[in-house]
Symmetry: C2
Subunit: 178 residues, 2 copies
Amino acid sequence: MELVKDVNLTLVLRLFATFLLVLSACLVAFDSQTKLLFYSILRKASFRDLNALFVLVCIDSAAAAYNVLQILRCSIFPSPKVDKNLAWLCYLLDQAVVYLAFAANSAALQGSLFAITGQNNFQWMKLCNIYTRFCIQIGGALVCGFIACLVLAVISALSAYSLFRLYSPKHFLQLKAK
Amino acid sequence: MELVKDVNLTLVLRLFATFLLVLSACLVAFDSQTKLLFYSILRKASFRDLNALFVLVCIDSAAAAYNVLQILRCSIFPSPKVDKNLAWLCYLLDQAVVYLAFAANSAALQGSLFAITGQNNFQWMKLCNIYTRFCIQIGGALVCGFIACLVLAVISALSAYSLFRLYSPKHFLQLKAK
C-alpha cells in the first residue's frame, strides 16, 4: 500500500517532467524570427544558429523519451516486489538524465546571456535587441527547462530513496534482512 | 567498524574534490596573457573578461570551502551514532553543491567553446587563435572542474546512501526499527 503511494508520486512527477521537457524543446525548436537588416539583407534567426540551443533540443527530447519509457514501465509492470538490480539501473539512469539536462540548460543559458548582453571587449555584438521576440521565447523555454531539471532532481532523489532503503543501516553495502 | 570505512571513503573523496576544485579555481584565476594587436594596442586577456569564468572561480572556491568545512566536521566529530537531521542537511547541501558546480562548469565550457570556434553567423570572432596559451590553461581548468564534479556526484550519492538506508524498505518515509 505504502509502496504504491511512492510509485504514484514518481509517476505524477515523471508526467509533469515529460510535459515540461517537451514544452521546452518545442518552444526552442519552433522559434524563428526573420528580420530585414541594413535595408537589404533578410536574416532569419533559428535555434540552429546556436549550437547550445540545438544540443538543448536534442537532450530535452531524449530526457522526455526516457521518462515516457519509465512511465510505460511503471504502468505496465507495477511490480510490488522490490528488485535491487532494477532499482540500481533506474537510479543510475535518473542521475545521468538529470545531470545531462542540467548541463544542457546551463550551457544554453550562458549562450543566451551572450546574445542578450554581448561582450564588448571581445567585439561580440548583442543580438536580442534585433531578434527580441525570438529571445523572449527562448527565455520561456529555459524557464521550463530549469523547472523540469528541478522535477528530475526530485525524481532522482526518490529513486535514490527507493534504492538505498533496501540496505542495512549498520553494515556497509549489505542488504537488509527480510 | 563498517560505518568508519564508509566515513573514511567520503573523507578521502572530499579531500580529492577539494584539491581539484582549488586547482581548477587557481588555474582560471591566475591565467592571463598579453598580446600586441594591430601593432599598437596591447590587450591583456584574463578571467574577468568572461563572466562565466568569474562565476566559475567563485563557485569552485565556495564548493572547496564547503568541502573543507565538511572534512573538519568529520575529523573533529567522527560521530559513530547516525543522526537523521544531520544526514538530511548533509544530503541537501551536497546535492546543492554538486548541481551548482556542474552548472558553473557547463556554462564556462559553453563560453569557452564560443572563444574557440566563434559564431560566424553572429559575427562573433574567434579568440583562441590569438590567446592560445590562455585558452589551453582554461581547458585544463575545465577538465579538473569536471573531474571534481564527478567526485562530488559520488560524494552526494554516498550521502544519499547514508541518509536513505535509515528508512524502512516497507513503509514510506518511516524510520527503521532499531
